[in-house]
């Protein structure tokens, strides 16, 4: 069995080595993220069977959990790490073709570090270590948003940076308070100290508030998500894909991990549910009348985050595994969408939806990928979005409460709006633009390069596979949900 710490150590080492490799050749340096993510992919997937039995607790420095930093490779962590590695792999391959100018080596290093940060966040069992990895994630994404150095990118990066730093500062305050109260940083230890009081006392609640508000910035729940549309729409395509596919999911993971495992705070669940619905509605509505396609996708991410948070906030096995499934399917689909959009924008030179006309002809495969991604997001079978939405709605209806009935109506309303704007784009891509003779199209093909196409098709295969046969993943996610719901098992697993 491989030690899960390698999931972090290897990419980190590779990232550090990249500048050296770049001295030899830029070309080699470009392949470093691919190698790192490939490694992570293999390792995390191979770890899944063993963590399903019992989580692997990895000590660093050889010190037992409350004293040293430990990694908790539970089902949830490894699953998310696998998703991160998978999407990261696809996007890094895409980056090989897409990232052509500028400081390419630096881009690849930062990219790899971003994903390492994300992996670290989902694996670590120490709250401050989580914060550190979270910062790795955030800071590298600040920088990457501004990668192209254009007007919008820099503006978005600045805004993202300001909001992100406020968020992480608030989170750190929360951590400080927790440390001041309990004198420990290990999440399981904190959780044990908090116990199962049900209702938190004021101090703990305020610490929780600080942490939710802080980490919530990256999770992009409603009032905290103003950076998202800017950053996602202005970043280069692979970064948008990663931000949407991975970064915000990691944010959600942190919030959920803190609320569920560390605090076990049922009073927060309802808040999550409500925030989720509000976020969903606001995201979808804002996306509804967008003309900028990337901005639209970004708002759609907001909406999806809302859906996920809503699902997770239900705190039932069905709800959580539905939410986690949605995390996975959204990660796949949204990164696919951003990747496809990247080359479409590159070819058409504009982000307006109207400029997509005739794209179905010019870049048929890319467009097909886009369409399927969009369908998956809308939740149409047989694509990955369907089981997720289905499970979420099922869980919500299974609650059999009037409040949930009302909320689920709102959620479904949001889904309808989402369908509207996605179908509009699909139409724009396929059915607008100049009519052409059937054979004339062949000369005007401007398909994306192979390196960009391959990851898209790879994601596509995953989307369809998940949509057709989601059961293994669902079974995996059920044990993830169990991990989140039974915080005492978690505590026992870590502290013995």
């Amino acid at each position: 069995m491989v030690n899960p710490v390698l999931l972090l150590a290897v990419p980190l080492g590779l990232a550090f080595l990249t500048p050296l490799l770049a001295f030899i050749s830029d070309r080699i340096a470009r392949y470093v993220p691919v190698a790192g993510m490939l490694f992570n992919c293999v390792v995390s997937v191979s770890l899944i069977p063993s963590v399903l039995n019992r989580p692997i607790i990895v000590q660093t420095g050889g010190f037992a959990p409350p004293f040293g930093i430990n990694l908790v490779a539970g089902p949830l962590g490894i699953t998310l790490a696998a998703v991160i590695a998978l999407v990261g792999l696809a996007v890094s391959v895409y980056g090989l073709a897409y990232v052509k100018e500028g400081a390419t080596v630096k881009y690849h290093v930062l990219y790899l570090l971003l994903l390492t940060g994300a992996t670290g966040v989902v694996l670590t069992g120490d709250i401050f270590n989580l914060f550190v990895f979270y910062e790795i994630l955030c800071i590298s994404s600040y920088a990457l948003v501004a990668y192209s150095g254009d007007k919008n990118g820099v503006e978005a990066a600045v805004k993202y940076l300001i909001q992100g730093s406020i968020g992480s500062g608030l989170a750190l305050i929360g951590i400080a308070i927790l440390y001041g109260v309990f004198g420990t940083l290990n999440m399981a230890d904190i959780a044990r100290n908090i116990g199962s009081t049900g209702i938190l006392n004021t101090t703990l609640f305020i610490a929780l508030a600080f942490m939710v508000a802080g980490f919530g910035v990256e999770a992009a729940v409603f009032p905290l998500n103003a950076w998202l549309p800017d950053a996602h729409s202005s970043a280069p395509a692979p970064i948008s894909a990663i931000l949407s596919g991975i970064a915000i999911k990691v944010g959600i993971y942190v919030v959920v991990r803190i609320v569920f495992t560390v605090f076990g705070a049922p009073s927060m669940f309802m808040l999550l549910v409500v925030i989720g619905v509000v976020t969903l509605l606001i995201g979808e509505m804002s996306a509804f009348s967008q003309n900028n396609i990337k901005r639209m996708l970004a708002y759609s991410s907001v909406g999806q985050v809302g859906l996920i948070v809503f699902a997770l906030g239900m705190a039932t096995t069905g709800g959580i595994s539905g939410g986690l499934f949605q995390i996975i399917s959204h990660a796949l689909a949204k990164s696919l969408l951003f990747l496809a959009t990247g080359y479409m924008i590159y070819r058409s030179g504009s982000m307006e939806i109207s400029s997509l006309q005739g794209m179905g002809k010019r870049m048929p495969l890319t467009c097909c990928a886009f369409t399927i991604g969009a369908f998956s997001l809308v939740g149409l079978p047989p694509f990955a979005g369907f089981p997720g939405k289905f499970m979420i709605v099922r869980a919500a209806i299974a609650q059999q409460q009037h409040l949930f009935t009302f909320l689920i109506a709102l959620v479904l309303f949001g889904t309808i709006i989402e369908a509207c704007y996605f179908f509009r784009i699909v139409q724009a891509a396929y059915f607008t633009g100049p009519r052409e003779e059937p054979d004339a199209g062949k000369q005007r093909r401007e398909e994306a390069p192979l390196f960009a196409l391959a990851p898209m098709l790879g994601l596509l295969v995953f989307i369809i596979a998940l949509g057709v046969y989601p059961e293994p993943v669902i079974r995996l996610l059920d044990s993830c949900a169990a991990e989140l719901l039974n915080r005492f098992d978690y505590i026992k697993g870590v502290l013995g």
């Binding site: 600040y142 978005a156 600045v158 940076l161 406020i166 992480s168 308070i177």
Partner: protein
Amino acid sequence: MSFLFENSYYIAAVGLILIGLYIMAAKKNLIKVIIGLSFFETGINVLLIAAGYIRGGSAPIFSHPDMQAGKMVDPTPQALVLTAIVIGVAVLALALSLAVRLYEHHGTLNLRKIRELKW
């Protein structure tokens, strides 16, 4: 008065945090906002340190063989603060570089005017 005196670290920390947040929320010059960020982070660092302080403790270094563990302050927050400072520096550096870039593009650092990305 003695309350203020006794809790001066906390007061300073909270004060710095609030001032920093205020600057970030209300000021429009990016440089000022970055300074506010710096305030904010400093405040948090102070808070961390203060949280780890034990009255009458010494620095946790066994420079003399007769030093006692019981008389030392908690070393953990100090390690944390070290990390936090470094992170703060990193963010600050990045913020400044972005500010340079932003100025090149917009010719201003007034955040109320840099609003091309909206809606």
